[in-house]
């Protein structure tokens, strides 16, 4: 925004950060959302104020959104295909004869 008489300002855009919160000791960090901040330290502070106002976490990670490489949903099937025909990786694939314990 510029006020009359001032030269127009270039709007400042802060980079986007993805936020991960560990809710309690023993749990993994879980993605909770994103926010804008100029640097990592402010991202962390903003994340605390935005995503843990009710003690929702004991630890926060912030990651520049641009640093995340994601698989594409379009290639979902082809990409995960190699795992599709390997049911023998699951213990339920195997038949256990009656009377066998501790297996």
């Amino acid at each position: 925004m510029s006020t009359p008489g001032e030269p127009p300002r270039t709007p400042v855009t802060s980079p986007l950060w993805e936020v991960f919160v560990r809710a309690r000791r023993g749990l993994s960090h879980t993605h909770v959302g994103s926010l804008h901040a100029p640097d990592a330290e402010l991202a962390l502070r903003n994340a605390r104020d935005l995503y843990t106002r009710r003690q929702e976490g004991v630890s926060i990670w912030v990651v520049p959104a641009g640093a995340i490489t994601a698989s594409s949903p379009d290639e979902k099937d082809a990409f995960f295909d190699p795992a599709a025909d390997k049911v023998y990786r699951h213990p339920t694939f195997y038949e256990v004869p009656d009377g066998v314990d501790h297996l």
Binding site: M1, S2, T3, R9, P11, V12, T13, S14, L16, G33, S34, L35, H36, A37, P38, D39, L42, D49, L50, R53, R54, A70, S72, P73, D74, E75, K76, D77, A78
Partner: protein, 357 residues
């Protein structure tokens, strides 16, 4: 907090409200655990795949294919919802410095901060659809996107803070709880967060009114006056009557919206009657009465012409709200610039250190 009036219309009824939010959260997890039947093969028509996901009550995620109109509808709805949270800080912010006790002030500060947080959750959800928050903020500041008309009414007394919590946040919850089941994942997840926090807002408002209505005659009168002024604008938050509402059918088919404006309004009225009795206040509607046949209350509709006027910018506070928002945004520019300059300086310094090392 937000209303339903600005867009063609939105969603839904509440109930045991927190319970419904939790049920929506469970449903979200269950849907995720269910594998989608009849998954489209690669190269299959993406529209068929999209329809499949919606039919199976599963969530659409940001990188999934979606119809352009679905994306546009969501961007508009989520952005306007976000703007409402941001503008919604003003009517209550008006009373922070004059709250009647330190406790009330601390609570009100926390509530207004929550509204800012809700706005930010929602901007973040909108950004997953490929728009930037800066763009959306510009649209609000230029008046090209709207916010809920309820925030164009003034908060004249402390009791209005109570009425906003009880009625405005109450209506917002009735609207928003069904949005926890919206087909777009990031929006549904943001709404679950928002609704959980919103129930504190509604209870604190109710408590303010309860204290006033059981206080001195002057306090009681103040509470009644607030109810008299906020009742119909709160009913109008659910948007125009079903007959006048466009876009609805498509939003319903996409499972963005799940209940009609009139269904939600009825639900809200039915909830409020008993709560008003406990407050010992009178809902300003001489025609409000139980209809045995419908198993619901008959009530007087809000003035929809007034609603349209307020949406068009002729409400009591439209100009004040927008001027305030523009000024706050402009006044914050130097902070954003300074933070960015500082970040650039830190980056340059750490580069130099690396080179030197």
């Amino acid at each position: 907090m937000y209303g339903n009036d600005f867009v063609p219309q939105e969603d839904a009824p509440g109930g045991g409200l927190l319970g419904q939010v939790e049920a929506a959260e469970v449903a979200l997890r269950e849907a995720a655990a269910r594998s989608r039947e009849g998954a489209a093969a690669p190269g299959e028509d993406p529209a068929a795949y999209f329809a499949d996901v919606i039919d199976a009550d599963q969530k659409i995620e940001p990188r999934d294919w979606m119809p352009d109109a679905y994306r546009r509808t969501l961007v508009r709805q989520i952005a306007q919802h976000a703007h409402s949270e941001i503008i919604g800080m003003q009517p209550e912010g008006n009373w922070i410095s004059r709250a009647p006790s330190l406790k009330r002030k601390a609570i009100l500060l926390a509530k207004v901060q929550d509204e800012a947080g809700h706005g930010l959750y929602l901007y973040a959800a909108a950004e997953t659809l490929g728009v930037s928050r800066d763009e959306l903020v510009e649209l609000l500041l230029d008046g090209r996107q709207k916010y809920s008309s309820i925030f164009n009414y003034p908060t004249l007394t402390w009791a209005d803070v109570g009425a906003i919590g009880w009625l405005v946040d109450g209506a917002a919850i009735v609207n928003q709880v069904p949005l926890c089941r919206c087909s777009y994942g990031p929006y549904a997840r943001a709404m679950i967060r928002v609704c959980k926090e919103e129930s504190f807002h509604q209870r604190q408002g109710f408590e303010i009114l309860h204290t006033l209505s059981h206080g001195t005659p002057a306090q009681r009168a103040m509470a009644q006056d607030a109810l008299d002024r906020w009742w119909y604008p709160s009913l109008a938050m659910f948007g125009p009557p079903d007959g006048d509402s466009t876009h609805s059918a498509q939003s319903m088919a996409w499972k963005i919206k799940r209940f009609s404006n009139d269904e939600l309004r009825q639900r809200f009225v039915d909830m409020c009657v008993q709560q008003a009795e406990i407050l010992g206040l009178t809902i300003p509607d001489p025609d409000l009465r139980w209809n045995e046949e419908r198993q619901a209350y008959d009530f007087t509709q809000p003035d929809y012409d007034e609603l349209m006027r307020v949406i068009k910018g002729e409400g009591p506070c439209n100009r004040q709200r927008m001027e305030h928002r523009r000024r706050a945004h402009a006044d914050g520019a130097w902070v954003r610039e300074a933070a960015t300059a500082y970040a650039a300086k830190q980056r340059a310094e750490s580069q130099r250190e690396k080179v030197a090392a």
